[in-house]
Symmetry: C2
Subunit: 144 residues, 2 copies
DNA sequence: TTCCTTGCAAAACTTTTGCATTAAA
DNA sequence: TTTAATGCAAAAGTTTTGCAAGGAA
């Protein structure tokens, strides 16, 4: 172990390890995208990721951002969300969880699984089983 | 009352009434779109609606389909769903309800509210209140 | 060398918009 | 007649793809 590792180093190593576990070659662009997303749980669009990387001086193309996000998603490193039809959001929290969605601001907030409890759920149709539950609690500004 | 009204007539009148209630002018194209959607609860994409209307001989443009769907949605006559990022689905069932989503086939199946019961839900963040709950139970083909 | 990744531009797709024409009140 | 709706084509926005160039093994 390295008790002197900086937070940035820890994130870098975690990204390398997770990509290696999936057999994904850790190129410079992929590492930057992984570092950005996996440094903390967050929801980002492809455009936001591209802008963020470029403003920090990275040389990345839009195609590579999409390629990388799709690659990561296909390996379960991130998760693609469909909350509004306008664009995809990429969630770096792949543990089971739900979301608040503030429609006015577009903000997404994680809701931990233990905060939601189902006392009844319908049985899946014959020949199918439940693959997962997408729960979005839409929020509006309180009138009061 | 008219005890001899055919099912088609009943649908036509119900569409006229619902559009009138919203102050929407019942043009030929709008009536055809409303009749298609509101004849029974279903989930259709804009492209499906356009194709269906044209194959039944109607003269409608893509722009009018989108204009009309947005108009209907803004008046609460239909509801727009975001289940996959690929396209919008328009749900003619505007009563509160949830969905099964068979990812393999793309099929959407309604889940009535009484079939789901929450025994715990997180409190909405300060300054906000719950506007609605979108619940999608993802289905996969059973392995067994 | 061989295979994979990147960047760029173009293409594909869904949805919106501008504007002249047409239909409804 | 006056206002609103329609159709068409073009535009806009997001995501994918083809391909030449670059980089890693």
């Amino acid at each position: 172990m390295d008790a002197n590792a900086s937070p940035a180093e820890v994130v870098t190593r975690r990204c390398q390890r997770r990509m290696a576990d999936c057999g994904i070659r850790p190129t410079a662009q992929r590492m930057r995208i992984a570092t950005l997303l996996l440094s903390e749980p967050q929801h980002l669009s492809a455009e936001q990721i591209l802008a963020s990387l470029r403003s920090s001086g990275a040389r990345v193309s839009k195609a590579t951002v999409y390629n990388t996000l799709n690659l990561f998603a296909s390996h379960g490193l991130i998760r693609q969300l469909s909350v509004d039809g306008a664009r995809a959001w990429f969630d770096s929290n792949v543990d089971a969880h739900y979301h608040f969605h503030d429609v006015a601001s577009g903000a997404l907030i994680d809701v931990p699984v233990p905060d939601v409890e189902f006392s009844r759920l319908p049985p899946p149709p014959p020949g199918t089983e439940v693959d997962g539950i997408d729960l979005v609690i839409r929020l509006r500004r309180k009138a009061s």
